[in-house]
Symmetry: C2
Subunit: 337 residues, 2 copies
């Protein structure tokens, strides 16, 4: 049996962990991320000891539909950043699919060229390991990577809709990656991501239709109300590194524009409202999932009444939520998860 | 000032409303949906008076990426159903985008051919009107449509990820719509929707690449563990109605397969667990959004501490969730929303 560490032990362990993290220890990094992901009791002390969220390194969000080649692009971008001496932390947030995993793993393999390099750290996160709490866990891993002294953080997200749009609450520069043809550009325009992306990369730009896709994006951008920053549309070919240096320069230009317009700290402060809501929703969902995993006492009764048509799914849902709230507040102690 | 209706008035009003609904009154339908959408105090009584969820008409889910032509396909399918004398209720769940609305409205226009027809009802639902509670609201509208005597209910959803996959908890038959080329098939395979769809429609089948897309889907389906139902892959052209009758026959075949395998009621009972979790999560999220809209008392203090780096976003989120739970349970009265 392992004794629970006393608060004093815990505090000195966390201080040592954060110091090792700062000195670049890979073991410390792995341990810190484990604390965060497993909701370890030492997690709160760790988060308090890490540099505050406002001081995180520059965060680049890379998003786009599945198959757009985001992982390859991140691999190529990382090569460019390493050539310039930057240490790169990458968090790949996997699609919400509760089914597939193989395809995602396949994508990650394309980043493997960097796994031997101490200046690069790659972490995949899925909703499987974080039921309901993916946004929270992703942000905490970014804080850990910030504490580990990486110079640039890259977050990869996939898909259309909420997940994709949430990237704007995390990243300082959002890059949308699309491929020629197939309506990627149209999908982007319809999904609302057009309005949140700062840089557009047309990947696989050697394929037919790349020009059409680029001009569709440019036309749509022209329809936006004019803003200080005009998002560039850049052709890139990840597999040959073509256009990747220019892509990084576009990201740096956006950073410069932010600094000129009032500074990164101000932009991050403005983002805080939405970020806190998102994170709190993620926390609440995680607690609720934990509650359901333990099969609440009324569950069987609710299911029976539903099966008999004695209640409706949404009225049963209300009862369940009422019970979750009652249980959570009468418990008093630390959170359920 | 309008007086709050007494419980007795309310009960007789709801009885009259449900009776009018059953007789096909469009005004009653509009009013019932308003009660549900606005969280009217009479909503609970209404839901209790409607036919139970287990007795709903057959529900067809139509899903697929933006631009696949789902709305046109639903328009064409509705024409076929009307020719066969079926009354059709359609709920179009809009993408989660908090930005666009125009494009979606444009899609809806393609269904307008049916707006003069009393045997068709079309309702768009967006997350804008239902912050956090879209799943709950969608299901309640389906219950209202069931009470209004429609024979077939169609739910349209868009996108990749959770939203798209959630359709399997709502629909008896899930139809995935893709278009030729552009990697729609590959995206479907990667997103996990392959494993939940029962019928595959390759829309715009007159475009080049339709055969390739169809055979990619068939190959992926061959890799699935063998099941009783083998999903067909059907070419359709919504604009000319080609293949639409065959699509409906495929949906009916799936229904027949369900009946043979143990019956629709059993399938719906099996779905109930996931459906209740989903709905409860939706309810919880809606309450939390309502809590945030009223700007909780500690909000300013939390934001200040965040801006100063005195707390981290996820620790602030925990505080906020704790406070939400405390407020919700100490209130005692009806739900906050």
């Amino acid at each position: 049996m392992v004794a629970t560490p006393s608060p004093q032990d815990s505090a000195s362990e966390i201080a040592a962990l954060v110091a090792a993290l700062r000195q670049g220890s890979r073991r410390a990094l792995a341990r810190a991320i484990t604390y965060v992901e497993n909701y370890d009791p030492r997690r709160t002390a760790l988060l308090q000891a890490l540099p505050p969220a406002t001081d995180l390194p520059y965060i680049v969000g890379i998003t786009g539909p599945p198959g757009a080649g985001k992982s390859s692009l991140i691999g190529a971008l990382t090569t460019v950043l390493r050539q310039r001496g930057r240490r790169v932390g990458i968090v790949a947030v996997d699609p919400d699919s509760p089914f597939t995993g193989g395809a995602v793993l396949g994508d990650r393999i394309r980043m493997l060229q960097h796994t031997e390099d101490d200046g690069v750290y790659i972490r995949s996160m899925s909703s499987r390991g974080n039921p309901g709490g993916l946004a929270r866990a992703t942000w905490e891993v970014l804080q850990v990577l910030g504490g580990a002294g990486f110079d640039v953080l890259i977050v990869e997200t996939t898909g259309v809709g909420q997940t994709e749009l949430a990237i704007r609450h995390f990243a300082d520069t959002v890059v949308l990656v699309v491929t020629p043809g197939g309506g990627d550009a149209i999908q982007a325009i319809k999904s609302g991501i057009m309005e949140v992306a700062h840089v557009f990369a047309v990947n696989k730009a050697d394929l037919p239709g790349a020009d059409v896709t680029a001009s569709q994006l440019k036309q749509a951008l022209n329809l936006r109300p004019s803003q200080d920053w005009r998002p560039p549309v850049l052709p890139v070919i990840s597999t040959t590194n073509e256009g990747i240096a220019a892509l990084w320069e576009a990201i740096e230009s956006h950073y410069a524009a932010i600094e000129q317009a009032g500074g990164l700290a101000a932009v991050r402060r403005d983002r805080m409202y939405a970020q806190l809501s998102l994170m709190a929703e993620s926390e609440l969902r995680a607690r609720f999932h934990a509650y359901l995993r333990n099969r609440p006492p009324s569950w069987d009764d609710l299911m029976r009444r539903l099966a008999r048509g004695q209640t409706s799914p949404s009225l049963a849902a209300e009862e369940l939520v009422d019970q979750f709230i009652e249980t959570s507040c009468s418990r008093g102690g630390p959170p359920l998860v």
